[in-house]
């Protein structure tokens, strides 16, 4: 974990299988995707996918935020640090933001963040930003399905991963 450990100690501190889930690189590995969904549109859309009994892979861990504009790019970095293989940010369609303008800022900010993360070595397919309205349950399910397959093909993410604390 620390940057320089020639005396070899930190590795001994790494938790050894205390948490559930298959280790990256094993046949049982499943992508872990963190999904930031805005309360008013995309979270409701995700809910609709559920009540409509639409099937989609259980890879997304949803975090509800009031608005996609709440998503600080540092959250995205933290997700990758802690073991996410992909991050999804879903908000209202531009023009339909519950707070009027939140997602306009999201759009600018995350365009830049996504390119910057690519520059640092994170494949841009690992960060998906999309607009899902409250009635688009199908879009939510499709998005998760597509993203899961894309990230599965890319494999586990190693960049920025905190080896001591990332989920196994």
């Amino acid at each position: 974990m620390p940057v320089n450990e020639p005396h070899g100690a930190a590795q001994a501190a790494a938790p050894g299988g205390a948490t559930a889930g298959a280790r990256p690189g094993t046949a049982e590995w499943e992508p872990r995707i963190i999904g930031f969904c805005c309360n008013w549109c995309s979270y409701a859309g995700a809910d609709l996918a559920g009540t409509s009994r639409l099937e989609y892979p259980p890879t997304v861990r949803v975090i509800r935020v009031p608005c996609s504009g709440r998503v600080n790019p540092q959250f995205i970095v933290r997700a990758f640090q802690k073991g996410a293989d992909g991050v999804l940010v879903a908000g209202c369609h531009p023009g339909d933001c519950h707070y009027s303008t939140g997602n306009y800022f999201t759009r600018r900010r995350l365009q830049v963040a996504r390119r910057f993360l690519e520059y640092l070595g994170i494949d841009p397919r690992r960060l998906r930003i999309t607009w899902i309205s409250a009635s688009e349950g199908q879009k939510f399910a499709d998005t998760v399905r597509e993203m899961t397959e894309e990230v599965r093909a890319l494999g586990p993410n190693r960049v920025m991963r905190d080896e001591l604390w990332a989920a196994n």
Binding site: M1, P2, V3, N4, P73, Q74, V77, R78, Q81, P94, G95, T101, Y104, F105, R107, R108, R109, L110, Q111, V112, A113, R115, F116, L117, E118, Y119, L120, G121, I122, D123, I129, T130, W131, R158, V159, M160, R161, D162, E163, L164
Partner: protein, 337 residues
């Protein structure tokens, strides 16, 4: 390799411009007249290649102020600290330093009325670190006895003789891009205007270099750069765009930046530091100049400048804007689906 040995021995006359004494007089006058309570300028540093920031409070001490091609550091950030006390502060600014002051004013961290800007035309400054590294290879360990720029050539004398460095070897990188070496919109101007030189356009070649690597190599490149990072925060502290009253890196709850120094957390630090100045960086390059372990910070800042320029049609992202690019939006911004 630079530093071609010119003469085996003998001295050289130091090159000092008359602007230095004019500046000292002006500063003394401003202090004596009570127009400013402090004057920020440069004084002689530990070697002839280096200067040191000087906070002059009394007219008698203004005589120690210098102006020469070694005055590379920016003094703008000190204005932030000095806002705490009443009164007006005078500061010597080059054109690049003026951008830094404008950044602080645009961010409403420094009041323009409480600053007295003394502009000076700058012929381009010496990258002391670069020259010292060249000298360390050519004449390891030898102290610089005298140094000056004469007719566009840096002349350096050490024990074993005199060495010359042509402009393209000694010039600080940001000076290559300088469009107008004379700061405009200042309160006073000392010395003559300096003739501009052809400015190298911002082509982001250094960014393209890294971007051209494959993703895995890119990550390996940054792993290696960040592994040297000391987490000293010199880059953040010297940056005119970094002026938050409470920096997220100093906060314990929430712990934005865990104290452990690991490859992973170094990414968090560098990603955040660069991103927080995205669209606001004035391209002064002070961050990279002060970094003790040679992390190419401008490769991060310019990558963001480039993205913002391309995505939002901001032609000159390093100029303080009316509205910062990430603090605004248009309905037709590039979209996701």
């Amino acid at each position: 390799m630079g530093g071609e040995l010119k003469t085996a021995s003998g001295g050289m006359t130091g090159v000092r411009s008359g602007v230095g004494s004019e500046l000292a007089e002006r500063a003394a006058g401003l202090l004596a007249g009570g127009e400013v309570r402090m004057f920020l300028g440069y004084g002689a540093g530990r070697t002839p290649l280096r200067v040191r920031p000087r906070h002059v409070l009394r007219p008698e001490a203004a005589g120690g102020l210098v102006w020469n091609e070694f005055c590379a550091p920016s003094l703008a950030k000190y204005l932030l600290e000095e806002q705490e006390e009443e009164g007006r502060v005078g500061v010597l600014v080059k054109a690049c330093d003026l951008r830094a002051v404008k950044r602080l004013v645009a961010d409403r961290r420094v009041e323009r009325e409480r600053v007295l800007l003394v502009g000076v035309g700058c012929p381009g400054v010496v990258d002391a670190g670069k020259v010292e590294a060249l000298l360390a290879r050519a004449v390891p360990g030898e102290m610089v006895e005298e140094a000056g720029v004469r007719d566009g050539v840096l002349v350096v004398q050490t024990r074993s003789g005199v060495r010359e460095f042509p402009r393209e070897e000694y010039l600080l990188e940001r000076c290559l891009h300088c469009e107008d070496p004379n700061p405009r919109d200042v309160d006073l101007f000392v010395g003559p205007e300096v003739a501009p030189w052809p400015a190298r356009p911002h082509d982001y070649a250094e960014v393209a270099e890294v971007a051209a690597l494959g993703a895995a190599e890119r990550a390996a490149y940054w792993d290696r750069q960040f592994a040297r990072c000391l987490r000293c925060f010199a880059c953040r502290n010297v940056c005119p765009a970094c002026s938050c009253r409470e920096c997220c890196f100093d906060v314990w709850e929430p712990m934005w930046l865990p104290r452990e120094v690991s490859v992973s957390e170094q990414y968090m630090f560098h990603f955040t530091r660069a991103f927080h100045v995205a669209g606001r960086c004035v391209d002064c390059g002070e961050c990279e100049r002060v970094c003790p372990v040679g992390i190419p910070l401008m490769k991060l800042n310019r990558a963001l400048q480039k993205e913002i320029a391309e995505l939002f049609g901001v032609e000159r992202p390093w100029e303080p804007q009316e509205k910062e690019p990430l603090a605004m939006y248009t309905p037709d911004d590039p979209d996701f689906h």
